[in-house]
C-alpha cells in the first residue's frame, strides 16, 4: 500500500465533501426550490442556497464556513491497519485545514483553546471497522454546529407529547423535533433517526442513517411508511427554508433501529442542515480511488 497516495486521496475526499454537495442533496434542494411559491421568501432563500452551492464548487471553497464535526467511517481490509489509516486521515485533515477546506474548528472543552489543526481528543470522530473484502471504503460527513444544537433525544413515554412506546409515539417525537427546530438548524433539514439503543448508540446510529441516499426507500416497509408520513406532515407545518415559511421544511427522513433494554425507549434525532456535506470513496490495494459513493 502506498501511504502517500492514501493520504492524497483522503485529502481529495475532504476537499470534495466540504466544497461540493452530493447529487442527491442538490436534487432535493432543487425540488424544494421548484415547489416554493414564486416571489416568496422561502424560494428566495433556496435561490441563494443554490447559488452558493454552485459557487463553492466552482471556486473549491467550503460551502459553509462552519465545517463542522468531522465524522469518518472506514471499512479497512487486511492491507491497511487502523493506525495506518488514522495517521493518514489525520495528516490529510491538517493539510485540508491549512488549505482552507476546513475551518479551525476543534476546541479543547476544558481550556477553550483551539488546536488550530482540527485534531484533538475525539476530533476527527473515527468509526473504523475491519472488513474481509479487498476494497477499502471510507465515508465522511461534516456536521455543523447549528444543526447539531437542534438535534435531540426523547425518552418514551413522553407525557408532554402524549407519546407512548410505539411507532405512533416515535411519529410524535419526529414531528415535535421538526417543530422545535423551526429554521434554527439552517433548514430545510434532514432527520437521521434511531429508535431504541442506549443514549450513546442511539445518537451514533441516527447519524449513520444520514449516510443513506435521500431518494432511497427504506427496505423495512413499516419504517418506509413512517418516513414518508413524517416527510409529508413535516412539510405541511409550513416552517419552510430558514424558517421563513413555505412548503420545504424537510428534505429527508431516514429511520433505523437498535434493540433496547426493556426499561428504556429512546428516540434519537440527528438534525442535518441543507449544507449536507457527506461523501465517500472506495479504494483498491494500490491506493487508487475506484469509486465515488455519492
Amino acid at each position: 500500500m502506498d501511504a502517500k497516495l492514501l493520504q492524497q486521496n483522503l485529502l481529495e475526499l475532504i476537499r470534495r465533501t466540504s466544497t461540493d454537495l452530493p447529487a442527491d442533496v442538490v436534487q432535493a434542494i432543487d425540488k424544494g426550490w421548484r415547489r416554493e411559491q414564486k416571489d416568496s421568501s422561502g424560494k428566495y432563500a433556496l435561490e441563494v442556497v443554490r447559488d452558493n452551492i454552485d459557487m463553492a464548487r466552482r471556486i473549491s471553497q467550503p460551502i459553509c464556513q462552519d465545517t463542522g464535526t468531522i465524522i469518518v467511517y472506514a471499512d479497512l481490509p487486511a492491507w491497511c491497519d487502523e493506525p495506518t489509516f488514522i495517521k493518514a486521515f489525520e495528516k490529510a485533515t491538517v493539510q485540508a485545514t491549512k488549505k482552507g477546506y476546513l475551518r479551525q474548528n476543534s476546541v479543547d472543552s476544558i481550556t477553550g483553546k483551539n488546536s488550530g489543526t482540527n485534531l484533538g481528543p475525539g476530533s476527527p470522530s473515527f468509526h473504523v471497522h475491519p472488513t474481509r473484502g479487498k476494497t477499502m471504503k471510507v465515508r465522511m460527513m461534516l456536521k455543523g454546529g447549528g444543526c447539531e444544537n437542534v438535534s435531540c433525544q426523547y425518552s418514551l413515554p413522553d407525557t408532554r407529547l402524549g407519546a407512548g412506546r410505539d411507532l405512533e409515539g416515535v411519529y410524535k417525537c419526529l414531528m415535535d423535533a421538526t417543530y422545535q427546530a423551526q429554521g434554527k438548524g439552517c433548514g430545510p433539514g434532514i432527520l437521521g433517526v434511531c429508535v431504541g439503543g442506549d443514549r450513546g448508540t442511539g445518537y451514533v446510529a441516527a447519524k449513520e442513517a444520514l449516510f443513506r441516499k435521500l431518494d432511497d426507500v427504506n427496505p423495512d416497509k413499516t419504517l418506509a411508511k413512517l418516513e414518508k408520513r413524517v416527510m409529508t406532515d413535516g412539510n405541511s407545518l409550513g416552517i419552510g427554508p430558514m424558517g421563513f415559511g413555505g412548503k420545504t421544511t424537510l428534505l429527508g427522513v431516514k429511520i433505523t433501529h437498535r434493540n433496547r433494554v426493556p426499561a428504556c425507549y429512546f428516540v434519537s434525532i440527528a438534525y442535518m442542515c441543507w449544507a449536507f456535506r457527506r461523501n465517500g470513496v472506495t479504494m483498491s490495494e494500490t491506493g487508487k480511488i475506484t469509486r465515488w459513493l455519492y
Binding site: V48, N52, G183, C186, D233, L237, M242, W274
Partner: protein, 187 residues
C-alpha cells in the same frame, strides 16, 4: 428592494416583515465578544450611529496586502439577546443581520428605537462573501481574535430578509404560531 447607506431611521421604519432587501454600504461585524464588551461599557471603535451590525465570524485572509473575505455566513443571533436591544438604543444601531431570529426583548427595542432584524441565509458563506467588495478596516482583532473582531465590510447588494420590523412584528413568531397550530391538529 435596495437599501443603501446611510441607514436612517426613516428608511428603516419603512421596512416590513417579509421584505427582501439587498443592502449596500458599510456594515460592521460583531459577535459575542464585541457585544459583551459594548454592553459592559466599552467604547465602540467605530461610530455606530445609523449602522448595521452583522452577527458573523468571517474567514478573512490577507492577499497582496489587502484583506479578502473567504467566507462570511451569519452566526446564530439569539446568543446576543441580552445585549442587543440596549445596544441598539444606546448607539442608535438601526439593524442587525444574523440567523435564527431574536427574542421579545430585541423585538420591543426594534419598535422603540427604530431598528430591524435582517435574516441572512444561513450557510451561504460563499455568496455572502462575494458581496463584501472591500474591507477598509478591522478593530479589536488583537483582543478578540479574528472571528470575533469588529470588521468593516463594504457590501454591495447583500441579500437578506426582514424577519423582525420596527412595528412589533416578527416572522419567527408568526411561523412558529402557525406551525404550532398545524402540529397540534396532527398530533
Amino acid at each position: 428592494m435596495l437599501l443603501e447607506a446611510p441607514f436612517t431611521e426613516k428608511k428603516i421604519r419603512a421596512l416590513k416583515v417579509g421584505d427582501r432587501v439587498e443592502i449596500t454600504g458599510l456594515i460592521y461585524t460583531g459577535r459575542d465578544a464585541a457585544h459583551k464588551y459594548l454592553h459592559d461599557g466599552g467604547t465602540p471603535p467605530v461610530d455606530l450611529t445609523d449602522s448595521i451590525v452583522y452577527h458573523c465570524g468571517p474567514v478573512v485572509v490577507k492577499e497582496k496586502g489587502k484583506w479578502v473575505v473567504k467566507a462570511a455566513g451569519p452566526t446564530t443571533s439569539i446568543r446576543e439577546e441580552p445585549y442587543q436591544g440596549p445596544l441598539m438604543e444606546k448607539f442608535k444601531i438601526r439593524g442587525v443581520i444574523g440567523k435564527g431570529g431574536m427574542g421579545p426583548k430585541t423585538l420591543a427595542y426594534c419598535k422603540k428605537v427604530g431598528a430591524v432584524y435582517f435574516h441572512a441565509i444561513g450557510g451561504a458563506a460563499q455568496v455572502l462573501a462575494k458581496c463584501v467588495v472591500d474591507v477598509p478596516g478591522v478593530h479589536m482583532a488583537e483582543e478578540f481574535g479574528s472571528p470575533e473582531a469588529i470588521w468593516e465590510f463594504q457590501v454591495v447588494r447583500f441579500p437578506v430578509v426582514v424577519t423582525m420590523d420596527s412595528h412589533g412584528r416578527s416572522l419567527h413568531d408568526a411561523v412558529q404560531a402557525q406551525s404550532e397550530k398545524k402540529l397540534k391538529a396532527l398530533l
